[in-house]
């Protein structure tokens, strides 16, 4: 899972990374053929990496790795194209990168020391460490580096490699945190040595270009030859991760709406930290916790196996206890209740007969999987639909849509009808294009790939057929219409001769209907322009245009539009339905907010049980606030004077439930090794894990 996330992030940054690679490798070769500059500037890349500084470790390590590697990152066509102009040079070029962090560089001495040590420690073949040769050099003396570099170059010469010199790359990871005086001197020294050692600087900027202008004086700035690189915005990263991980991934686990909301809120509101998001996901709230919770605390997790079939071994493992658990799940109860009306006997069997249940389970689980896959598919379609219209006003980010879908509010929201209305408003040629693209989208997805047997056919295939038929009818209709229009336009020849001619030739060649229609529209527009001599609004144009279409075709067209509309809404309704309505969804979706976990993360070493409990209660209370507003004030009054007895009763019930939930939560945490009881202090537990687990 972590690997997957890293992969996503790397993909997102590939273009920038390869640009940086090019920059570093051509930094010194480029200068030779440029026009004469009055003095040599130090090539400097400014990497705008976003404000989530803790995330940058990974990023800059990646960059260092990429720079040091002999081949540029990625091997896609784009990179090759970009590399074209530097290929002759970058072939033999070699560069070595070190990362300097502000914590290593409190003063000039330590900065130099850190840099030199890192370079010497790279272990490059042929380089001699001057510090080991018995010379009494100090370890922050630039001469050390110079000597080392000379030996490196000599080694290269001896090896018969080309004259291209290795470049030394210094990455200043967190520019803002550096001491600016130190940095000034450091840069000045580097540029002094530039005639002997080809340095390239890469600076990681978290804020904006202003930081560098504030931090460095003119004399230093004028020695830098900067180039800016913009890393992918972290919110984009987040969206990509969610998209990849939750919507399309094949992992056996989904995150429910509440934890996801919390995760996203944390991200948007507080830190923009993808790393934090991941580690939150991984550690505190969801991943480990869920996995552990899931696999230890929930016996049903054995059903998570994707390849569950009737013959699967997992089913043999099921015991009486499992069945009881299963039957206690709310969704299962719903399912059974639904069955009750249709088929009472089956429902009874489900409840009473274990054997029957075992047979049913694989089907249910499979249905769930299929639901998930088609959900991803249709979600893509929704996204496609949204991106089709350039209404920036109502655009929602993918994660928001996903979140709505999880919450179950998506299908009832005004968003989808709005999109549908937009679709309805399309004119005919756009509609055609739209349907084509739609079909394309469906065909491209893996779900709709041609199946080997009909047995594997799934819902999506059926949808594909529907869309296809719509497309076919649509194009047929439009063909008709265009032929009609040819004839009709011939009637009005005198109005728009050349347009009509072109439309005829087009028709003769049998080109695509959409262009044809466009031509036809042009003609009719001409007609009306002549007739009325006034400006036409688009809508008026459209109505008149449709009036031109023969009656039968018009009817068919509107019918078709209607059908499209219905298909879309049906698709959304069936597939974007909230997961809670699926039976057994608890197996995959995990949607209990780990309040305790959240509090736990904020705690010190010893946790006072009572405080913890109170805080837990408070949060639960607050969570209920929007739902039933009355409870809270009543509670307060009940606490003071005990006025309303009925309310006090619910209050009490609530308290009991809270306590029960709290205790079970504590037990789980203890079971998984997050806390342990201690005898050092009464009513306290000890915290056992720290940091971003």
């Amino acid at each position: 899972m972590v690997g997957r996330i890293e992969g996503v992030m790397r993909n997102m940054n590939t273009i920038v990374l390869s640009a940086i690679y090019d920059f570093v490798h051509s930094a010194y070769s480029r200068q030779s053929n440029k026009t004469t500059m009055p003095f040599q500037e130090l090539p400097t890349g400014l990497i705008f990496a976003g404000i989530n500084v803790p995330d940058h470790d990974l990023l800059f390590q990646q960059i260092a790795q990429i720079i040091s590697s002999p081949t540029p990152p990625g091997s896609s066509g784009v990179d090759d194209m970009e590399l074209d102009h530097v290929t002759p040079i970058s072939a033999g070029g070699e560069s070595h990168a070190v990362i300097l962090q502000s914590k290593d560089c409190v003063n000039l001495k330590s900065a130099q020391k850190s840099m030199i040590e890192q370079f010497l420690g790279l272990g490059i073949a042929g380089a001699i460490n001057p510090l080991e040769g018995g010379a009494k050099l100090q370890n922050y003396d630039m001469l050390v580096l110079e000597r080392w570099y000379q030996s490196l170059c000599e080694h290269h010469d001896n090896m018969g490699q080309d004259q291209k010199q290795p470049t030394l790359v210094i990455i200043l990871q967190d520019f803002e945190s550096f001491d600016y005086d130190t940095l000034q001197d450091f840069i000045a020294i580097c540029s002094n040595y530039q005639d002997r050692i080809p340095f390239v600087l890469l600076m990681g900027l978290a804020t904006s270009i202003d930081a560098i202008h504030q931090g460095l004086p003119k004399a230093v700035l004028s020695r830098l030859q900067t180039r800016k690189f913009q890393m992918q915005q972290s919110s984009e990263c987040l969206t990509a991760i969610i998209d990849d991980l939750f919507i399309h991934a094949n992992v056996g686990l989904m995150v429910g709406s509440l934890p996801l909301k919390q995760l996203i809120d944390q991200f948007i509101h507080y830190n923009f930290s993808v790393g934090g998001f991941i580690s939150n996901l991984k550690a505190c709230e969801c991943w480990i916790y869920i996995v552990m919770h899931h696999f230890y605390a929930n016996p049903l997790s054995i059903l998570c196996d994707r390849s569950l079939t009737a013959q699967s071994k997992a089913l043999d493992l099921l015991t009486k206890g499992h069945f009881d658990h299963l039957r206690m799940l709310p969704s299962f109860q719903q399912y059974v209740e639904g069955k009750l009306e249709a088929d009472p006997q089956e429902a009874e069997m489900l409840i009473l007969d274990d054997e029957f249940l075992v047979q049913q389970i694989p089907d249910i689980v499979q249905a769930l999987q299929e639901y998930h896959q088609s959900f991803g598919m249709i979600f893509d379609f929704l996204w496609f639909l949204q991106s089709r219209f350039s209404m920036s006003l109502l655009k929602k980010p993918k994660r928001a849509l996903y979140f709505m879908a999880l919450e179950g509010t998506l299908i009832n929201s005004s968003h989808i009808p709005f999109l549908q209305s937009l679709v309805r408003k399309l004119d005919s040629n756009n509609m055609m294009m739209f349907v084509e693209d739609w079909l394309q989208l469906f065909k491209e997805s893996s779900l709709c790939a041609p199946k080997t047997s009909t047995a594997l056919e799934n819902a999506m295939d059926r949808e594909l057929v529907v869309v296809q038929s719509i497309r076919d009818r649509m194009s047929a209709l439009l063909d008709n219409v265009s032929e009609d229009s040819v004839t009709s336009s011939s009637e009005i020849e005198d109005h728009g001769e050349e347009a009509e001619v072109s439309s005829k030739t087009l028709g003769g060649e049998g080109l695509s209907a959409s262009t044809f229609v466009k031509k036809r529209k042009l003609v009719s527009l001409n007609v009306y322009a002549h007739e009325t001599g006034s400006r036409q609004t688009k809508i008026a144009k459209k109505t008149r245009e449709t009036a031109r279409i023969p009656k039968g075709a018009l009817g068919a067209y509107t019918l078709l539009v209607k059908e499209i509309d219905e298909t879309i809404s049906r698709l959304f309704r069936t597939y974007l339905v909230c997961h809670t309505s699926m039976p057994l969804n608890e197996i995959y979706y995990y949607s209990q907010v780990a309040i305790q976990q959240k509090l736990y993360v904020e705690c010190g070493r010893m946790i006072n049980m009572y405080d913890w409990f109170t805080a837990f209660g408070m949060i639960l209370e607050r969570g209920q606030q929007p739902g039933d507003v009355e409870v809270l004030p009543v509670k307060k009054r009940g606490g003071r004077g005990g006025k309303a007895k009925t309310n006090a009763k619910t209050n009490k019930l609530d308290q009991k439930e809270v306590q029960a939930r709290f205790i079970s939560g504590v037990a789980e945490l203890q079971f998984m090794g997050f806390i342990k009881s201690t005898s050092r202090k009464t009513d306290h537990v000890m915290r056992l894990t720290w940091g971003n687990i």
Binding site: Q40, T44, K109, K136, D141, L143, Q150, L205, Y270
Partner: protein, 540 residues
């Protein structure tokens, strides 16, 4: 001393510095002649101080010999690089005991001429590489304090040069009469032994911070060692600022004055790109000088601008749109770029490569589309950069509010917090009354003493608690107080958007200042749809 070929070459290489070169040569005298104990060379930056000294020393001291196996006669140290006394000592000893670094490129003087002004800031560039082949095991001598250093200086002056020296001493050194023994130590037969050694310290103003006690010692180095050593300090500040205690020796001060226009143009003339028309270039140089000299005295900057703007200037000529002699047209053509260069390039908002990439591509586009040049190419490019910067700066939602809150806390007087941030509740009436009075009082006061506006005074430190209170007040939604808010404060401090004014070891009652400009805050507030102007007191 009649002008030697070296001297003439030096004069040619440094227009406008003839007098200074002659002065320095005068101080140096013959190789064996005693020199003044110390020289101080001062002048503004990029006036050729370093370059002149370097070139003069390397031209006069031994560079003319084809094979130089004897130790260098001078050590050239940069005080930024040598930031501890020990580094200064050791580097000086190393340089004086070893032959000077050779240069791979052709005859030294011509290369100096070509790359003359590069050295103005102390960088001798042109990508010359030090000779790599002479890679003997490094002979490095430890030297920790001044005493040892003086010992070393004596030793260096007394040691004989290598025997190869005797064979190769056929250059202009041979003309010297042997046996000038000025000092008591009986010397051996080597004729170079008592030649003056020079210790050059570039950017010597740094010495005052790194080794303040060293300055008097260096001034008296000749006296202390009893050898013929001359210390040359190169600095941008005047000698008066070096004096710490009385009793130190005063160096001879040599001032490098500003270049005049004629001198500047003569220097820039050397920058003429290959196969370009000299007349046109000189006209252009003249133009640039007139436009920019009021803002920019720095020769390097002017050279920088010339190098980057000249291709644009000659572009229409090359494309055949404008004739060479049509000076006025060319002038109009380049005007638009001047404006932008003043703004962006000079401030290094965009770097030289970005500039040349962009102008060449953009200008060609605009030239093709319209033969007429207006300010248009400049303006949309500016737009692009503004967009770039805007995009890069994005903060999490709450962090934006934290920053806004700290801005408010820094610029609003605390006593008005009630008026601005108290939630309008059941007690609202009373509040408003009081605040009204306060406001009225304030207002009257303002009209008289608005000179003390906080906006003009800069940000005021505020306690974190106050900022948090404002933060929770300006947020629309209820937010629970948690760790994240505090981590965000810490990260804002590390990004230097907040400045912590209390020392790091004081953990509670932290005070900060907001270190962000009003413009930034305004754009932040706009992005969060927060009306900042409503909450700012006495701001415009």
């Amino acid at each position: 001393m009649a002008t030697s070929p070296q001297q003439q070459q030096l004069h040619g290489a440094f227009p406008g510095r003839v007098k200074q070169i002659d002065q320095i040569l005068g101080f140096m005298g013959k190789p064996l002649a005693p020199t003044p104990p110390s020289l101080l060379i001062n002048g503004n930056s990029s006036l050729g101080k370093t370059a002149v000294i370097k070139a003069t020393l390397s031209a006069m001291l031994g560079q003319s010999e084809p094979e130089r196996r004897r130790p260098s006669r001078y050590a050239f140290l940069d005080c930024v690089e040598c930031h501890t006394p020990r580094l200064i000592f050791e580097h000086a000893i190393y340089q004086l005991r070893n032959p000077p670094p050779t240069q791979e490129k052709g005859p030294t003087l011509s290369s100096i001429g070509a790359g003359k002004k590069e050295a103005a800031e102390g960088t001798l560039t042109g990508f010359r590489k030090r000779k790599r082949v002479t890679h003997s095991p490094l002979e490095w001598n430890k030297c920790d304090n001044v005493n040892e250093f003086i010992e070393w200086c004596r030793k260096i002056c007394d040691t004989q040069d290598d025997e190869t020296d005797n064979t190769s001493s056929s250059g202009n050194q041979s003309s010297q009469s042997p046996g000038h023994h000025h000092y008591q130590r009986p010397s051996t037969s080597s004729k170079h032994q008592n030649e003056t050694r020079y210790l050059v310290l570039d950017r010597a103003e740094r010495l005052r911070d790194t080794a303040p006690t060293l300055i008097p010692v260096l001034m008296r180095l000749q006296e202390l060692t009893g050898r013929n050593i001359c210390v040359i300090l190169i600095t941008t500040i005047v000698w008066e600022k070096f004096r710490s205690k009385t009793g130190g020796y005063e160096p001879i001060v040599l001032n490098f004055p500003q270049y005049t226009k004629a001198e500047t143009v003569a220097i820039l003339r050397k920058d003429l790109p290959e196969d370009e028309d000299l007349d046109m270039f000189m006209r252009f140089v003249d133009l640039v000088y007139d436009v920019f000299q009021r803002n920019c005295k720095d020769l390097n900057e002017i050279r920088h601008l010339v190098a980057l703007l000249f291709p644009l200037y000659i572009k229409p000529v090359k494309e055949g749109k404008i004739q060479k002699h049509e000076g006025l047209k060319l002038h109009r053509h380049i005007q638009a770029y001047f404006v932008e260069a003043m703004d962006k390039l000079y401030l290094r908002e965009i770097s030289s490569t970005e500039w040349s990439d962009r102008t060449l591509s953009a200008a060609s586009g605009s030239l093709i589309s319209s033969g007429h040049i207006s300010g248009a190419p400049g303006s949309d490019r500016t737009l692009i950069t503004a967009l770039d910067v805007q995009n890069t700066f994005d903060l999490p939602y709450y962090t934006k509010f934290l920053l806004i809150a700290s801005f408010l806390a820094s610029y609003n007087p605390p006593r008005l917090d009630m008026r601005y941030f108290a939630k309008v509740s059941n007690q609202g009436g009373k509040m408003t009354k009081r605040s009204k009075i306060a406001a009225a009082k304030k207002h009257g006061h303002d009209n008289m003493g608005s000179k003390l506006r906080q906006q003009l005074l800069g940000p005021k430190p505020f306690p974190i608690e106050r900022m948090l209170a404002i933060f929770y007040s300006i947020l629309d939604e209820e937010v629970e107080e948690n760790v994240n808010v505090h981590t965000q404060i810490a990260s804002l401090v590390s990004l230097r958007m907040l400045q912590r004014v209390t020392p790091m070891d004081k953990l509670d009652s932290i005070k900060c200042k907001c270190n962000v400009s009003y413009e930034t805050i305004k754009s932040l507030a706009k992005s969060t749809k927060f009306e900042i102007d409503k909450y700012l007191y006495d701001f415009s």
